[in-house]
């Protein structure tokens, strides 16, 4: 081959390479069209578009599904979405559906879709059995009959959970509608029998298992994206293009608020790591996100991308030090009190999540941001304040028979106060908090080691009780911002299941002896009555503070970073709309888009 030919080939190769590069960059810039909001999230790939399939629809959830209403905690206001109105009676909720709501394929949304969705979620998820029955007096009215055990707070779930109205549109899932109804009915029957303390008939159980397995196998394998070549949704956006790294949602032109929408496309970048999101926010590749970010990174970010603003809102949850009550060491409340006095929670917060709110000096089980609404000054005056005080900790321990030998505290039985603090490795803020807690406790004279729980093993480790103390979510109010949620978690549900705190025992209070379990049940029954709720909360707050089932470290916040470089109309920092973010920040974006507030910058 002559040199001339060789040169020609080299030039050709280089030319193709540069044309390719230009194509890639043009392709990338073409996605940055007007009327677009760029965010970061995660989604299953290959994308199936089936909410019952593995990974469901990922972060697209709040854009593709609508609840009957959004609830804004800060203003205590419901914003109607798929419901025009609703009526709450004893054991019954009647919802009037929006008549101009349509799926993204143009099919109207009716009561049939609601009934089908409830049947499907009960059949596939064995939840919510609190709904005994759903009937449709007409196409645009649904009546939910609740079981007698349903808590009052469940009405809130019906209204605000996006799974209930249109998760399984009848025209998409009609093939399995009868089977789903049958499985749901059988499931409710078995649940009712079990709840009454009886054992369900083996024949009934076996029929249920067979039918439920059959349904789950078929529905789990269904991919609307493959079969229908699209995913008909009731929400404001439909997923239209999904790759490993990018998910594009296109506006639903049949949405009743479509004429108001100025953003017609959502582009998600995959949230592969917090660092990726930091870099994407700095470069302007995404316009809004809510990653945890160290203080100095935030400072740098505002220098490099001045259009970025940050708003923090409570996450309606707190991070706490929790104990395993199956380990004898933690059965002594004096030790728990000493730990509460030793810990400098401000220091823990500084290193873990600097934007978080400092925890209340109390440990009453009410989020600090909600303290004034739920705990009276009189009750607060009765509670022990756990401000950092090493001397108080020493006093409490000495009184209880503990001794300091050399630099180490010993239990009354002569054993050192030694334990391991487990923390879930992938939660970097928890790891930082754990490191600080271990350091402070060791400085005081306890022997504490830190242990990381590997990725994906948190549930297994915590539920099996294979830990001594751990960093975990303490009380959380996400979903329904009411103290019942927090106390239920502590004394009956998630946290109780991992700590096994003796919540059915009776504890002394200024008002008599009560078990926190019974009080939580009482609170459940009066949840809709604020006055009665407050009365029960005082007793629960006292028990929680004085018997310390957990020690709160800080109230978590959701830092929301948003840029007005490409998109304008972000609400003011004190706008109550931000309080909709905990448990589903995409609801905020969706509400802002569908009300026409967010618009491309001209």
């Amino acid at each position: 081959m002559s040199n001339r030919v060789k040169r020609l080939i080299a030039v050709l190769v280089l030319g193709i390479f540069f044309i390719g590069l230009m194509g890639i960059s043009l392709g990338a810039s073409s996605t940055s069209s007007a009327g677009e909001l760029r965010l970061a999230t995660d989604w299953p790939y290959p994308f199936h578009g089936n909410p019952f399939g593995a990974g469901a629809v990922g972060g697209a959830w709040w854009f593709v599904y609508e609840p009957f209403a959004y609830y804004i905690p800060q203003s205590d206001e419901y914003i109607p979405r798929l419901a025009e109105s609703w009526k709450i009676e004893k054991g019954k909720v009647t919802v009037t559906l929006r008549k101009n709501a349509k799926f993204s394929d143009g099919k109207p949304f009716t009561a049939k879709d609601v009934i089908n969705s409830v049947n499907f979620i009960q059949a596939m998820w064995q939840w919510p059995y609190e709904i005994e029955n759903v009937t449709a007096p007409n196409d645009y009215t649904v009546v939910f009959t609740l079981s007698k055990d349903a808590p009052q707070s469940f009405v809130h779930t019906i209204l605000t959970d996006a799974a209930i109205p249109a998760l399984a549109p009848y025209h998409v899932y009609s093939k399995w509608a009868n089977l789903a109804k049958e499985v749901a009915e059988l499931g409710k029957k078995i649940f009712a029998i079990s709840s009454s303390g009886k054992t369900p008939d083996a024949q009934l159980k076996s029929t249920y298992d067979k039918k439920a397995d059959d349904l789950r196998k078929q529905v789990n394998a269904f991919s609307p994206f493959k079969t229908l070549k699209r995913m008909p949704v009731i929400g404001s956006f439909e997923p239209t293009k999904i790759t490993q790294s990018e998910m594009v949602l296109t506006a639903n032109k049949y949405h009743w608020l479509y004429p108001k929408m100025k953003i017609n496309r959502i582009t998600f970048r995959r949230w592969s790591s917090n660092e990726f999101v930091w870099a994407s926010l700095i470069s302007g590749e995404i316009y809004a996100a809510h990653p945890n970010m160290p203080k100095d990174v935030v400072e740098q970010l505002t220098i490099l991308n001045p259009s970025l603003k940050v708003k923090t809102t409570t996450d309606l949850s707190e991070i706490a030090l929790v104990f395993n009550y199956q380990k004898p060491l933690f059965k002594d409340v004096n030790l728990r009190k000493a730990i509460a006095y030793v810990l400098d929670k401000s220091k823990v917060r500084d290193v873990a999540v600097w934007q978080a709110s400092t925890c209340s000096p109390y440990a009453h089980g009410i989020l600090k941001s909600m303290e004034s609404k739920w705990i009276s000054k009189d009750t607060l005056s009765k509670l022990t304040k756990y401000a950092t005080n090493a001397k108080m900790a020493e006093e409490v321990l000495k009184k209880a028979g503990y001794k300091k030998v050399g630099t180490t505290w010993q239990q009354p039985n002569g054993q050192p106060v030694a334990f391991t603090l487990s923390v879930y490795g992938p939660h970097s803020d928890w790891v930082l908090a754990a490191r600080e807690v271990v350091q402070q406790l060791n400085n005081f004279g306890f022997k504490v080691e830190m242990k990381l729980i590997p990725d994906g093993m948190r549930d297994q480790v915590m539920k099996s009780g294979d830990y001594e103390a751990a960093i975990e979510f303490g009380v959380t109010w996400q979903g329904y911002p009411h103290p019942y949620n927090g106390y239920m978690r502590l004394y009956e549900a998630d946290l109780y299941n991992i700590t096994k705190f003796p919540s059915k025992d009776k504890y002394s209070t200024p008002w008599g002896k009560f078990s926190p379990y019974d009080l939580t049940e009482q609170l459940r029954d009066v949840a809709q009555d604020k006055k009665k709720s407050i009365d029960v909360v005082q007793k629960l707050a006292y028990i929680t503070n004085e018997y310390l089932p957990i020690i709160p470290l800080f109230e978590k916040v959701l830092p929301i970073y948003y840029s007005d470089k490409k998109v304008t109309g972000w609400p003011a920092k004190d706008d109550p709309i931000w309080s909709l973010a905990p448990g589903g920040i995409e609801r905020v974006y969706n509400l802002l888009i569908t009300t026409g507030k967010l618009a491309p910058k001209k």
Partner: protein, 293 residues
């Protein structure tokens, strides 16, 4: 007699290493780290109390490597962390090299079913994805408090196979040489042929591998800490680096540049010291590389 032996050893092995620039530089670096790990913690006190207001202090006389995200002196942590880093990585590399050499030499020499069986074992360990395997091990040993040697053995399990494969290939080329034939004719035992005739020739090669394993051993030991298998040590250089890069985001702020820099500098120096020594040893003891002398 003993003095003569010592002098022979000195002139045969030590002097050539001292006169080779690479091995001398490598030895000095490694000696520095060994001293750091052995007597360093006795001289330099460690204060791990966080001082968030004084985070990311630049290097100064008070803090030679500056302070980290927690406001803790980085130099103190490097010195105290060197003990676990060096002991764990050296043990893990050593175990990996021992297993890899024994299996590799045996595989290279043996023929028939024995050789095929060893080949299959090596291949199995080559193809097992190490991370899921470590996850399983984490679950198995979740309750066991493993010591440094036990952790090093677990790390070595995932490191020996590539070396065994390479050594097996080397042995295959060596085993038909005249001196091996001669040993066979003289009815010398298999052990003698394998480990006296053949393995000796591979020593420089094995040593180079030993050094290159250090980095992998360090990565694995960090992985084990994050899997909860090894005792969590906040001063381990890998854990420090993880805190710096992933949790404190030190690369995203100019203030924090020195935080990962000094950790990486020490890791690089340790590994570079090992590589220099290995290259020096190869130059000194490999006749082909000494051909120009």
């Amino acid at each position: 007699m003993r003095k003569k032996r010592f002098l022979d050893f000195f002139y045969d092995y030590v002097q050539p290493l001292i006169s080779n620039k690479k091995s001398l530089a490598g030895s000095i670096i490694l000696l520095f780290f060994v001293l750091m790990a052995t007597i360093g913690p006795m001289i330099v006190p460690l204060n791990m109390n966080s001082d968030f207001a004084n985070r990311y202090q630049r290097p100064s006389l008070q803090h030679p490597f500056g302070t980290d995200y927690f406001g803790v002196d980085i130099f103190q942590q490097i010195v105290h962390g060197s003990r676990s880093v060096i002991s764990l990585t050296l043990f893990a590399s050593l175990f990996a090299v021992i297993i890899g050499t024994v299996v590799g030499v045996a595989r290279g020499y043996l023929e028939g079913i024995g050789g095929k069986l060893l080949d299959a074992i090596i291949t199995v360990f080559l193809v097992i994805p190490s991370f899921p395997a470590l996850l399983i091990l984490a679950a198995i040993f979740a309750d066991t408090k493993l010591n440094t040697v036990e952790v090093a053995l677990i790390v070595a399990i995932w490191l020996w196979a590539p070396l065994a494969k390479q050594i097996a290939a080397q042995v295959l080329t060596v085993k038909s040489r005249e001196f091996v034939e001669a040993s066979r004719m003289l009815n010398m035992g298999l052990g003698y042929i394998l480990f006296s005739d053949i393995a000796k020739l591979l020593i420089p090669y094995i040593f180079v591998n030993f050094v290159t394993q250090l980095k992998s051993a360090m990565e694995f030991s960090i992985g084990l800490m994050f899997l909860g298998l090894a005792k969590f040590d906040p001063t381990h250089w890998g854990v420090m680096l993880n805190y710096a890069l992933y949790q404190a985001g030190a690369l995203y702020t100019p203030k924090g540049f020195h935080y990962p820099f000094f950790v990486i500098l020490n890791i690089v120096l340790l590994i570079y010291g090992g590589i220099l020594l290995a290259q020096g040893i190869e130059e000194v003891f490999n006749p082909k590389l000494r051909g120009h002398e």
